[in-house]
């Protein structure tokens, strides 16, 4: 089975983010980057499928030069090779623009399965995988928690709301967006890091791919959540007040 895993590089969690001078994006200087967490689970799922069924895992990343670090980690964990679409303009593209690039870079790969995280930790649109599937003309399923491969088809378990799940059988090739936390992520071992140096990374210049139409979705303004101080006095008997307080903490402030 040939599996392509689309991964994204995002700022490390808990980074101190600053808005850049344009007000349209974050200041990228001095930030450290890592693999988008749901994509890490997509990669793990791909590696486990390969261990069970054989085949090849190809990591696919669009982004600037620094993305090579995330690619190297994917190769160190066990991906066989990688495709790096080199571009510095990700923040100015919309989902369709990015999905167009990803689709163009892999259209000749004839993958059986394409996996990606269900959303990115930076923008969190959750659309890239879905649009990519449409562009490739293959079926997709989202928020996947489990994948079982049979010959020519797969059975997947989708997470719905309220603790409900859906089991779907679908033909291959297909695209799945993977939920975070569904398995235990492996480490890149030191041996794996050493081996990664010898693996192939195909570099594709964004300029060589068909130009996407102008973005239909643009970012108007990036800003930090604005803090508001507010004091509320809760009336009633202690019992009623406590019940109201719990209600508020649960559903308004969402801390319990």
């Amino acid at each position: 089975m040939k599996i392509i895993v689309a991964i994204k590089q995002v700022p490390v969690r808990d980074s101190n983010l600053r808005i850049d001078a344009s007000g349209h994006w974050i200041d990228e200087d001095d930030l450290s980057y890592e693999i988008n967490e749901p994509d890490a689970y997509a990669l793990e799922e791909a590696l486990q499928l390969k261990e069970k069924h054989g085949g090849e895992v190809v990591a696919l990343l669009a982004g600037p030069e620094r993305g090579s670090q995330t690619i190297r980690e994917a190769l160190a964990k066990g991906a066989d090779r990688a495709i790096h679409i080199e571009c510095d303009d990700l923040a100015s593209l919309d989902t369709l623009g990015i999905a167009n690039r990803l689709a163009a870079a892999i259209k000749d790969e004839k993958a059986d399965l394409i996996l990606t995280g269900l959303q990115s930790d930076d923008l969190g649109l959750g659309q890239t995988g879905v649009v990519l599937a449409e562009l490739l003309g293959i079926p997709h399923a989202t928020i996947i928690m489990q994948v079982e491969a049979a010959s020519g088809s797969i059975k997947v378990k989708r997470e719905l709301e309220d603790g409900w799940f859906q089991h779907v059988e679908m033909p291959l090739p297909a695209l799945l967006t993977i939920q975070s936390g569904i398995s235990k992520l492996r480490y890149a071992t030191l041996m794996g890091i050493k081996k990664a140096k010898t693996k192939e990374v195909r570099r594709v210049s964004a300029g060589d791919l068909p130009q996407a139409a102008a973005a239909t979705v643009t970012i108007e303004r990036v800003y930090l959540p604005e803090k508001k101080k507010e004091t509320q006095l809760i009336d009633g008997s202690p019992k009623e007040a406590a019940a109201k307080l719990v209600e508020k903490l649960k559903f308004e402030v969402r801390v319990i």
């Binding site: 808990d14 090579s68 190297r72 980690e73 890149a188 071992t189 030191l190 890091i193 050493k194």
Partner: protein, 392 residues
Amino acid sequence: MAFKFKNVDFIGFDAILSEDERLVRDTARRFIDDNLIPIIEECNREGRFPRELVKPMGEMGFFGANLHGYGCAGMSNVEYGLVTQEMERGDSGIRSFVSVQSALVMYPIYTFGSDEQKDEWLPAMAKGEKLGCFGLTEPDFGSNPGGMRTRARRDGTDYILNGEKMWITSGSIADVAVIWAKMEDENDLVRGFLVPTKTPGFRAYDVHGKWSLRASVTSGLSLQDVRLPASALLPGSGGLKSPLMCLNQARYGIGWGALGAAMSCYDTALQYSLMRKQFRDQPIASHQLVQEKLAWMITEITKGQLLSLQVGRLKDSGKVSHEHISMAKRNNVAIALECARMARDVLGANGISDDYPVMRHMMNLESVKTYEGTQDIHTLIIGQAITGIAAF
């Protein structure tokens, strides 16, 4: 409640590391954060070596990481150093265990061993299936190992070893001991032997009541008429230079490791000082005397990073001398211990509790200051290198 470690990098140090070096460091960091940090305080309290981490560490490639072949990871010395930094950010005892396995047992087998010895021990040791210990120090001889009393006597084609070794990390959990002894029929030349610990006459007993390195095993070894075949001798070893070459490997790793402990203390002090409020409802980080401590710590850590990196680069290009390694070990352990004491100060009473890693690092570093060449001995090594006069 201990804080989640945040990277310590004041002058863009990470940017002068290669992509692979950062990846190795980050991988080791994640492993330590996931697997050691959650259990280390309990191990330290109970005086328990976390044996359960041996196999996972072997799978990660942490043992003999800078050796090539035999299932070892083939890391550069800088990469290996960054791994030891992360280990010791967790705990000096765990780093000690890995240093002994890697630099003091696998390295001499790799460097002085026969092909049979390498094939027998290195792959199994790289996986963590077999553990080793290193017997050089004796009850009466520490800084002056040349005074050792352990003797090897020839008997036919066999050797008979007698002697006592002391302060041996991993002594009682080891499958094989690298024992250094004077050869009676070779003019007291010091040579190394691979002694399987189940050999009759070999006994290891643990040192109890330690206030330091409580998460690693420290033992004394007793060898009474231990009979070994000729094949137990490390054929390439000859003279005190051989064990000192091993110590050089380990000391190099300690130079990096001490920085890890220092980073843990600094980061804890920084995060604590930003959270802890005292006067006028302001965090104590706003006080000049606290800032002075934090500024001292980050400055010394930064200088130590540059020192270790340059020594590592020299080692990777084959140009390192033992006095370079002495400088890194001496400086970085000293500043780490000072960072631990300052961080304890910043944490006030909370600093003495094992809710925070600071006092554990401080107590560990007292050992690290002494073993593998004391602070004073490294001072004299540097003194000898610059004056040409040996003062010991």
